[in-house]
């Protein structure tokens, strides 16, 4: 069962309004650009793929198409969470590829001005720190905004593509 997300535009010439779909992973709230979100699915069985990279959870069938699902916790270096009723697979379109990411829950769509986004602390030497586009404080919550374009390297995209 899929949930579609309505897109709205709210651009301003100097300070564009951006929409972010927020999701929960572990105890923190993350955001991804709404334009890259195709749909959000309830969790369904993910078929593991032998020999797949460690960040790949497996594949699912989506209306006749095979979609690779990324283990987001593993990718971000976080401990893996349990599958619950709130667990979702977000189907994204990134760099021309369609992939799914497993998240603990999908929250809402928030509107953020570009000026509200602060750069990430950038103190980390860890590879995964490059996935963070910035942070933003909204409704008493600090959102961590993910740069999906950096989620996989070119080599990793080709690796995923050949699965």
């Amino acid at each position: 069962m899929a949930t579609s997300i309505a897109l709205k535009s709210g651009n301003h010439t100097d300070d564009p309004m951006l929409q972010w779909v927020t999701f929960r992973l572990e105890h923190e709230i993350y955001g991804v650009n709404v334009m890259q979100v195709k749909e959000v699915l309830r969790y369904s069985e993910v078929a593991p793929v032998p020999g797949a990279p460690s960040f790949v959870l497996g594949i699912i069938h989506l209306r006749g198409t095979v979609v690779t699902v990324i283990d987001t916790c593993q990718r971000f270096g976080l401990p893996s969470g349990e599958i619950t009723d709130a667990t979702r697979i977000m189907i994204l379109e990134v760099e021309g590829h369609v992939i799914g990411i497993l998240v603990d829950a999908v929250s809402e769509v928030v509107y953020l001005r570009q000026s509200e986004i602060e750069p990430s602390p950038s103190v980390g030497n860890d590879e995964s720190s490059k996935f963070i586009q910035g942070v933003c404080h909204k409704n008493n919550i600090l959102l961590i905004l993910v740069d999906l374009d950096k989620l996989l390297s070119e080599d990793e995209w080709s690796e995923v593509g050949t699965m």
């Binding site: 105890h27 602390p121 103190v123 980390g124 600090l142």
Partner: protein, 301 residues
């Protein structure tokens, strides 16, 4: 001198350990100065001097390496440390002290155990105390220049990180905030010392595990749960976590053992033996944290 000596003897183990830690922090400055002079006079002579004074001169890298194996610190280091502190203990007296950081760690763990009691002290129950920001623009100080706020009498706020008492000059204190897991957003891919971001007023305060900076080789991050307060460094986006905030004290510059060169450990301005505490160089700390090329481990090494 006799009075001082008896005072020293009266110090309990943890206090001595903390004092030794503070002395060791300062020792690098003395060492570097001696090395510089020797190089100017004669390179060969300097080598001889270094070998004869080997037990006296401990450069920072050696100090840090040794710190990994506290039991390796020998008695001569202990004697030198006591000379630096000016207490002049005899060898016998020194032999009763463990010259390593082990005592310091024990002191920390014993004091960490008492944290729950300390946290309930009435003066600590104050909610978010925000101090007025210092209006004067921040001047960039060379790592060897005297600190601008330390030319005359100045005030410091004492706070505790583990068993170590630290002091932050009030003129560079941005504010004090209560910390909690709910308020702190952890961000993946960051180093261990980066505890997370806390939104406090207009600031997204990047909170630092202070203990990992001040005693990186003796602490693995196990005190994170005990940090109840965050001290904002000036009006920057950086805050240092601590367990307990204590009183403000007034100091004369002469009471402080200043570090003449703060290029290494730029967060440390000096130590105060009277209060057994280390004074933060706030601007130095901010610069260190702001520099992405520094990296934590690189800065320590």
């Amino acid at each position: 001198m006799k009075e001082t000596k008896s005072k020293e003897q009266a110090l309990i183990g943890p206090q001595i350990a903390v004092q030794r830690y503070l002395d060791d922090l300062l020792q690098e400055a003395t060492t570097e100065q001696a090395d510089d002079q020797a190089v100017i006079e004669d390179q060969n002579t300097a080598e001889e001097f270094d070998s004869s004074e080997e037990t006296d001169d401990i450069d920072e890298s050696e100090e840090l390496d040794d710190a990994d194996e506290p039991e390796d610190v020998d008695e001569s280091e202990a004697t030198e440390a006591s000379k630096v502190s000016g207490f002049g203990l005899s060898d016998d007296e020194l032999s009763s002290l463990d010259a390593s950081f082990k005592d310091f760690e024990e002191a920390i763990s014993s004091q960490v155990n008492g944290l729950s009691d300390a946290a309930e002290e009435p003066h600590l129950a104050q909610p978010e105390l925000e101090l007025e920001p210092e209006q004067e623009p921040v001047k960039k100080v060379s790592r060897t220049d005297p600190l601008p706020w330390a030319t005359g009498r100045f005030e410091c706020l004492l706070f505790y990180v583990g068993g170590l008492k630290m002091a932050v000059p009030l003129v560079e204190l941005g504010g004090i905030f209560q910390s909690s897991k709910d308020k702190l957003t952890s961000i993946f891919g960051q180093p261990n010392w980066f505890m997370g971001v806390a939104n406090v007023g207009e600031f997204n305060l990047r909170t630092v595990d202070t203990a990992l900076w001040v005693m990186p080789n003796h602490y693995q991050g196990e005190m994170k749960e005990n940090f109840k307060f965050v001290i904002q460094l000036d009006r920057s986006n950086w805050g240092v976590a601590c367990e307990r905030v204590a009183e403000a004290i007034t100091l004369e510059p002469s009471q402080v053992k200043w570090r003449s060169d703060r290029s290494k450990r730029p967060w440390l301005a000096g130590t105060v033996i009277d209060h057994m505490c280390a004074i933060l160089d706030v601007q130095g700390f901010i610069e260190l944290l702001d520099d992405p090329n520094n990296g934590f481990r690189r800065a320590v090494k």
